[in-house]
């Protein structure tokens, strides 16, 4: 039985920098929905020692999310990221090879307060919104943009290479060196594969700026790993295409259900074939070893589903029969196959989330979590690239 008591915070399209309005009251119980000020450590009086949360090993195994090192207090106070239209860049363009800019928390705060961050997050929220209540096999609007076709084709080519570059004999658990061969081919051939995408006149020059995002979307060749940072680069690549008006809002459903899904399939193939190491995974303290976005988009797909609730992920028949239609189920299915043991033990966050009453709450919670756990983490965002389309301001 999950809790419908507290309402989401007022979800105006507040920028990341404005604090939530104070003393919002819950429309359900009249209780407060947020604290008037950010929680600060209590000045303990002599009488009361601070409530020591005893980390007990059983508690850690059974409910580690309570101990999770996520900055959840801040996340709860933050508004749900809302869809925002991508501002289309106008010529004259000043394409440049993008570079890393974030090396510290200060830099990160500066980024997250900037319009770039707001619009990028708004783009992710838009993509999520575009696939609300949509099965993967639902018919798309007739016009399937040539840009999307080229992207799917590009990803399929990369996938085909995996068949051509089988894993090498390798002792260690992770990191098959054949991945480096695949990645070399990627570096060599990506420019020509990207060409058809940048077909409109004047946009070929964008290759110099777009290529690095795409190159860094499939994992790291040296470490043979993959994580949410790489996934974010792919999202940034798509965002840049949107900024160039190569992808329009009407393309979003297809972008998610065709392009992103093909990307996801490719990544799973790479992960399985070359045993990519989870980059920066938090283990049980994280949502998933490799991905975040398919959970966001996947939860949106299931909003208002007639009979599937978040707890349906525990039903093996549902997973078996509907994983190909719903990304979220596909992700859970993948995790259950990849990991041994009790789901509640190897994926406690996903297990906790399955207790939420509605998919819309799962979706809004995950959007908040994406902002806090991906976009506001230096270890991930230190690799984020800034050019003329995603500006460093």
């Amino acid at each position: 039985m999950s809790d419908p008591e507290s309402s989401p915070l007022p979800s105006a399209s507040a920028s990341a920098s404005t604090p939530p309005p104070p003393s919002a009251t819950c429309r359900n119980c009249g209780g407060p929905t947020c604290r008037p000020s950010p929680p600060t450590p209590a000045p303990w009086s002599e009488v009361s020692p601070p409530p020591a949360y005893r980390p007990n090993t059983a508690a850690i195994i059974l409910s580690p999310a309570i101990n999770a090192p996520t900055n959840t207090a801040a996340i709860i106070l933050s508004p749900v990221p809302q869809p925002l239209p991508v501002p289309v860049a106008a010529p004259p363009f000043h394409f440049q090879p993008p570079s890393k800019r974030i090396a510290s928390l200060d830099h990160l705060r500066r980024f997250n307060d900037s319009p770039s961050a707001r619009h990028f997050l708004g783009f992710v929220a838009s993509l999520s919104h575009s696939v609300r209540s949509r099965k993967l096999s639902d018919p798309l609007p007739l016009h399937f943009s040539p840009v999307l076709t080229s992207l799917v084709s590009l990803l399929q080519t990369l996938s085909h290479w995996v068949d051509q570059i089988p894993p090498l004999p390798h002792q260690a658990r992770y990191g098959n060196p054949a991945y480096r061969l695949w990645h070399e081919r990627l570096s060599a051939q990506l420019p020509s594969l990207l060409n058809p995408v940048l077909s409109p006149p004047g946009l070929q020059a964008a290759e110099v700026e777009l290529l690095p995002y795409l190159l860094d979307s499939f994992g790291n060749a040296t470490r043979i790993d993959y994580g949410t940072g790489h996934e974010t680069n792919f999202a940034a690549f798509l965002y840049c295409l949107a900024r160039l008006d190569l992808i329009k809002e009407e393309d979003y459903p297809a972008l998610v259900t065709r392009v992103f899904v093909t990307y996801l399939d490719l990544m799973r193939k790479l992960q399985n074939t070359y045993c990519l190491e989870p980059a920066g995974s938090h283990g049980v303290w994280g949502l998933d070893d490799y991905h975040f976005l398919p959970f966001i988009f996947g939860s949106a797909q299931l909003i208002d589903h007639k009979y599937m609730k978040p707890k349906s992920i525990h039903n093996p028949d549902i997973l078996e029969n509907f994983s190909h239609e719903y990304m979220y189920l596909g992700c859970v299915s993948f995790v259950k196959k990849a990991k041994k043991g009790v789901f509640a033990e190897h994926s406690p966050m996903l297990d906790d989330i399955s207790g939420v009453a509605q998919w819309s709450k799962v979706n809004s919670g995950l959007l908040k979590m994406y902002k806090a756990e991906v976009l506001e983490k230096v270890p991930i965002m230190q690799h984020f690239l800034f050019g003329s389309l995603i500006k460093w301001e």
Binding site: M1, N28, G31, S48, P49, P51, A52, R54, K361
Partner: protein
């Protein structure tokens, strides 16, 4: 399960319309499979009450109490008033009692509550009074204040606490152990009704579980979850005043006997009488509407009137919603909300209230009170902040 049945009907309809559509057939098959699976699981599932109870595995008498323990002690089997007073003082100073005594209190309360019906008839003799309190939500120091203002519970001064004893406020353990201790001490002077927060799902998120793990132990989490299932759902005072935590029902014609015969030994379901008792809210306009909480319903004054008439009652008392003055009288005087957690969550600035009824008139005498200071432990200190993101 209901949703699956709906979906199954849809697919069956579709199959009738398009008998040769392989996709429709496949989807029908898939849905049928899922429904069968659920039916099978329901068939083989064990009723909550038959499940092995964690309580049966605990023998508190085997737990040694160190000589160095200076807190309240229970000598022998029975909880005494001296013990309860000592315990309350210890709690006030933020000391916890020994686990052995916590087990004893909770286990004894469990026996008492288990034996009670789902609807409890309370008889208040002429000239005697009875006090009804609403949500306390872990605000122990405000509970102490209620006892200051209105006297400790005793045979002459009986109380009914109408649910939501725990969660949100960070002294929930102290509140529940105190209420349970009084239940053990004076079974006929301390009545406890279940609220929507006396459930696993809520306790996981809103702090009670975290607090129990911190102040007691993991086993107590299971134990409280079990004992909460034994809390009665409704009380009727002198056959006239109907008291539940949430509110009334989605259908007319519900009789007290129906409520009496609810099998309550489970987590609150997502629909039905038990769910509505714990979750519903009154609304100003007549009729019924969807609940703003997403579970239960909203019900108007006409629903209240009909329910009272159907059951020869004169008043509904409920809690569940914070009110500025600690109480609110609605539905033409036929429904009173009473809420006993002042300055709810340290933020709302509301008053608390309690209702005194004196037999035989049973005219509600409502007292209000303000919040009192408490040690610097903020509300939700033990809450599961991860899950709160998804609320």
């Amino acid at each position: 399960m209901g949703k699956f049945k709906e979906a199954l009907k849809d697919f069956q309809q579709l199959k009738r319309l398009c008998p040769n559509d392989p996709d429709a057939s496949r989807k029908l098959k898939e849905c049928e499979k899922a429904v069968q699976k659920i039916k099978f699981e329901e068939a083989i599932s064990v009723q909550d009450s038959e499940r092995r109870s964690v309580a049966d595995t605990i023998d508190y008498k085997c737990i040694e109490v160190d000589a160095q323990y200076t807190g309240a002690r229970i000598e022998g089997d029975a909880v005494t008033l001296d013990f309860v007073k000592h315990m309350m003082e210890d709690f006030k100073k933020q000391k916890c009692i020994h686990k052995r005594y916590a087990y004893q209190i909770v286990l004894q309360a469990r026996e008492l509550l288990k034996a009670m019906p789902s609807l409890v008839d309370v008889a208040v003799p002429d000239g005697h009074h009875f006090t009804i309190c609403g949500d306390v939500h872990g605000q122990y120091y405000d509970l102490l204040n209620i006892f200051e203002l209105n006297g400790l519970p005793s045979e002459e001064n009986p109380y009914l606490f109408n649910g939501d004893f725990v969660d949100r406020g960070s002294f929930s353990v102290e509140v529940i152990l105190t209420l349970f201790a009084f239940k053990c001490l004076y079974p006929n002077a301390m009545y406890l009704a279940r609220g929507n927060h006396e459930s696993r799902g809520m306790n996981k998120i809103y702090g009670f579980e975290g607090e129990v793990r911190s102040k007691l132990s993991d086993i107590f989490v299971e134990l409280f979850a079990e004992v909460f299932c034994y809390l009665p759902l409704a009380h009727v005072i002198n056959g006239k005043v109907f008291v539940v935590h949430g509110g009334l029902f989605s259908t007319d014609g519900v009789k007290l006997d129906e409520i009496r015969s609810i099998d309550r030994f489970c987590e609150p379901p997502e629909e039905g009488l038990m769910c509505e008792i714990l979750w519903s809210d009154p609304q100003p306009q007549p009729g019924r509407g969807p609940s703003k909480r997403g579970v239960g319903l909203s019900f108007g004054g006409d629903v209240t009137k009909r329910f009272l008439e159907d059951n020869s009652l004169s008043l509904v008392v409920r809690s569940h919603e914070v009110k500025d003055e600690g109480y609110e009288i609605d539905h033409d005087g036929k429904l009173i909300t009473v809420f006993s957690a002042p300055n709810y969550c340290d933020q709302m600035g509301n008053k608390g209230a309690y209702i005194r009824l004196t037999a035989p008139e049973l005219k509600p005498d409502i007292k209000t009170f303000a919040a009192v200071p408490h040690p610097d432990v903020k509300p939700m200190a033990y809450a599961n902040n991860f899950m709160r993101m998804f609320q």
